[in-house]
Symmetry: C2
């Protein structure tokens, strides 16, 4: 009587949700201190205090009819101009306020971009490991996901990419720093990706758009660089969220920045506006459009995440686990001690450890740990990880 | 190279947008006082002062990690409980916190509901006149809009409805108080609608869901009643927005309240969660979830809108125009003096009057006036309306 696929999507609320609920039950049974929840990517660092100050200033100083009123569908022009200037100055990006479209976060940005680009049956390349919602967004836009493997460093397997490119390829999603691996594609890798696609475009006459999903762009360690894609490749757009950079994932605010040099940029930008409309987006939350545009100079206190990364990586490898060292974001992949990562995640639950199986992320045989957590929890979890490790010996 | 339908949707940014831009150009040319903009449904009454106070209290008194953090996909349970209690107490609605799903406004609520309900080719009945985006949402959900005419009072034409019901009918959108007419379906009309659908469901075994889009529920005049649909009909859901009731249309906050007595309510609620996910919604803005739940007792100062309605209706009918007297919302339909409402709207622009042709709303031969405007503008517009009227004599 209604849409079975949507029922399935709604019920398969990802194992992250199941883990969370298991954790709540266990906390009620045996106490909060016996649950070690590494499942959720909810920033543990509060928003910068200056952001809260500027929020209060906005609310106190603006006419509420304007402050809470509709913006145009593409977003407040003052906010878009500030974002474009910042992207140009800080990242050397090829962007323009006229091609920025404010969104309800990066998920909406990716979903809207795909609905603008794809026609029924078009293919979108997903580089493993990948954020599972990409597959959902591609399918809803009428597209078909095509998975490309990674090399032993969780970087792009270019042979696999070459094989995946075909007449139906219309887009590729790049997510660096990566969820779930924390890997950053370096400039050489990105350049090679752009050259591969450019060569393919020239040879076939097809356009392949890079959708660069960059919510973790500012969450990087040890001075790692996240190179700007728009300055390397014409047919590109940035999908961004302030969720992590301002620790406000619940407020749903981000943007699409379409490269003005993209093929038929005006028509594609119109398609983005059309897709936003068709998916029920009217405008991005107006107060937060203005607030984020006034907070582009603020950065999260990522030192906390770096300390957590080092503590967790050191502890786990010390016990004997094999982990992928993250260069950014706040996720780490750990090799499961069972070929079946779900079985491994299930056994971990017996010790109060909530670890997400990598299967949904295209990282079979691994579990994902989110380390945007209280640093004391990492310390307290050591015994549980040891028990888990020993249970496999 | 990308989606032509989305390009068209994006470019056809509705004539409301075109009118707005014409108005801005004219204001720059001949002055703000010579533009009479009746095109936009942006509330002119500011949010209640208490709302701003409570917003400040929330920001000052909550841990920012929680306040700006993700809520579950369905929304903050405390907010959902408050909304459910309020709907039960104030409107006698059949709702439950477990079947409330917080959304980014009513547009998202309607889009998500349709994507949850419809399969490819299913039909959705739209009662004329209707909000034009319904057609966009139905099509994106794979459905087919079926238009049902109205009677001379802009109320449901039941003969036309009976003819429209068929094996593919899966939903009907009800919007009362209505945009663009301001008409409210009285209790007898709603009861007849429910009886008609119930009889059809019994006869055929098909489910037909009522999607009741209620953003103007609290904007009613002269003590008019907006009866609750969930207490009359099992297969129903409310799509609501706080945009108009708290004068914050830019903040995108509302909800779906699914009737717990709906057929397979659990599966339909799962489908709503799945559809939200597939369209790129992660959760509704978290700060505004909490704020609106704390402001359910606040009402807008609708006295301003009532005065505007009376002033505008009196003025226009005094000149000789024929208007539909609105019982709610802040829109009024006026009969065009040309069989082609677009030509009439074009001529009105010569006098600085921005009136939206009714064609997109299924109200051919009429123009829509939004009277959520400065009351002085209504007075100042009288000469322009007289000139428009006389230009047709």
């Amino acid at each position: 009587m209604f849409n079975d696929y949507m029922v399935e999507l709604g019920n398969r609320r990802s194992c992250i949700r199941d883990l969370y609920e298991f954790g709540r039950r266990r906390a009620a049974d045996v106490g909060e201190d016996s649950v070690f929840d590494f499942s959720l990517g909810n920033p543990s660092v509060p928003s910068p205090a200056e952001m809260t100050d500027r929020l209060k200033t906005l609310i106190g100083g603006c006419d509420p009819v304007t402050l809470h009123g509709y913006t145009t569908a593409a977003g407040d022009m003052k906010a878009r101009k500030a974002i474009a200037e910042d992207l140009k100055n800080v990242r050397g990006a090829r962007v323009s306020a006229d091609y920025i479209y404010m969104t309800c976060g990066a998920a909406a940005a990716v979903a809207i971009a795909l609905n603008a680009i794809l026609n029924e049956g078009d293919e979108v390349i997903l580089l493993t490991p990948y954020f599972p919602e990409y597959e959902v967004f591609v399918k809803k836009a009428g597209g078909k996901p095509v998975f490309v493997g990674c090399d032993e460093k969780f970087c792009i397997d270019f042979q696999s990419l070459e094989r995946a490119l075909g007449p139906a390829t219309r887009a590729i999603i790049v997510n660096s720093p990566n969820n779930p691996s924390g890997i950053i594609y370096d400039r050489v890798t990105l350049k090679r990706l752009c050259d591969t696609l450019d060569e393919y475009q020239k040879r076939t006459g097809n356009c392949v758009y890079i959708v660069s999903d960059e919510p973790y762009r500012e969450i990087v360690y040890d001075g790692a660089e996240v190179a700007d894609i728009t300055s390397m490749y014409d047919n590109s757009l940035i999908a961004y969220s302030f969720s992590k950079s301002l620790s406000m994932p619940g407020e749903r605010i981000g943007y699409i920045a379409l490269n003005p040099s993209a093929h038929s940029a005006d028509r594609l930008y119109a398609a983005i506006m059309g897709a936003g409309r068709a998916l029920g987006y009217v405008c991005a939350p107006s107060l937060f459009q203005r607030l984020t545009a006034a907070c582009l100079d603020l950065r999260p206190n990522i030192e906390v995440y770096r300390r957590n990364r080092d503590a967790l990586y050191g502890m786990l490898t010390g016990i004997g686990f094999e982990c992928v060292f993250p260069q950014g974001a706040f996720y780490m992949l750990m090799k499961a001690l069972d070929p079946d990562a779900c079985a491994f995640s299930d056994r971990a639950k017996d010790f109060g450890l909530l670890l997400v199986p990598g299967d949904d992320f295209g990282a079979k045989g691994y579990v994902r740990l989110a380390y945007c957590v209280d640093e004391n929890m990492i310390k307290r979890s050591e015994q549980a990880f040891k028990k888990l490790y020993n249970s496999y010996k």
